[in-house]
């Protein structure tokens, strides 16, 4: 399970190195981003486009099993894409509050030996603030335009980079910080059905069998 603290610690560490974070559907971080309103709206746009342009998806946006996420900023080929710059709630003011909570709990954990087993407080805001802008690349694992059903495969991407920090990257406070780029990918699959005229997400069966 991935925590945002893991990623932030790596980014700000003096010994920071570039890392690829791939978070599958059952990862804690993926569950959090899927509940985030800008992500819900983004996936809804992809679902609507699929229902309106099914044949284009069938010919152009089919999942390629050989594709794997890498430490790159260049676009994922052959996918529908949704670019969401600076979504609401990721402004510095909002994020500062989430960070204060995290810092406060982290300091307490460090200076009071008895608290060491306690986890630092990582709010959902801290998780989404640490993403900010994102791209979601969507393909179909399976699609039936006649039946109006599909299995959609979402890959959400964000890079946390030194350039995210503007002129403060050169602030002396960061002299000890590595700030190496962290490449983050979240992946999940949804079954959808728009035969009624409205796109509906079909709950997965407990056995996880898909269609």
């Amino acid at each position: 399970m991935t925590t945002v603290g893991d990623i932030l610690d790596e980014f700000f560490s003096p010994f920071s190195s570039e890392n690829l974070w791939v978070m599958p559907e059952d990862d804690n971080y993926t569950k959090i981003v899927r509940k985030w309103d800008p992500v819900i709206q983004s996936t809804n746009r992809a679902k609507f486009d699929l229902s309106a342009n099914c044949s284009a998806w069938q010919s152009s946006y089919v999942s390629q099993p050989s594709w794997k996420p890498t430490m790159t900023n260049t676009p994922k080929p052959g996918a529908y894409r949704d670019f969401v710059p600076s979504p609401p709630g990721t402004d510095p003011g909002t994020c500062l509050k989430a960070f204060v909570v995290y810092v406060g709990s982290g300091v307490g954990k460090s200076v009071i030996p008895g608290l060491s087993p306690l986890p630092a407080v990582q709010t959902d805001k801290l998780y989404t603030c640490s993403i900010g802008s994102f791209n979601i690349y969507t393909t179909v694992d399976a699609v039936d335009c006649g039946a109006k059903t599909a299995t959609m495969n979402f890959w959400m991407y964000n890079a946390m980079s030194r350039t995210s920090f503007g002129k403060f990257a050169s602030n002396p406070a960061f002299a000890a910080s590595g700030m190496k780029t962290q490449y983050m990918w979240w992946n999940w699959v949804e079954n959808v059905d728009w035969s009624s005229g409205t796109v509906k997400t079909v709950p997965k069966k407990a056995s996880g069998g898909g269609w």
């Binding site: 610690d9 260049t74 676009p75 052959g78 529908y80 969401v84 710059p85 204060v100 982290g106 964000n158």
Partner: protein, 171 residues
Amino acid sequence: MRKPALKVLSVLLGLAWLAGLSPGLAAGQAVIEGDRSVRDLGSVQVDDASVRLLIAYSGDSALLELAVAKSGGPERYIPMFGSTYRGIPSVTLNVIVSKSKDQLWVQSSWPDSTVLAYYRLGADTATTPFGTMGLLDTPFPKLLSGGPQGFPQFDPSGVWTLASFYHPGDE
């Protein structure tokens, strides 16, 4: 195993950043408003149309774009790549023009993204990695949604590379 001292240092550094966060400007960027700025990568003239390559920076994102204007009219924008950090990776961009000077392509050096834009000069739409779309009135769209559906191919004997621009990357 986490190291608590390292963790505290990390979060304090993060707090220092957030307390004063205001994205800075690299050389060559013009301030638009607030945290928005534009870097001009270069421009060319195709008869009476001007064509400019630019990066629009906003918040923690950047958008690589083509701007077109005809006969001194207002610029309109064609998005080519949205970045989730305030920068664009290193890239060489070639502006390719048909010999009849009525079509142009922007070709990138990135793998799998060879062509990033196609535009028929004077048209109100362009072909982009987000599909065929109307030209934008602003270089700072709230979001972009769509998918590539193939760019018109060009016959190498019927075009020439009008200009090449190199962006070294923002890191």
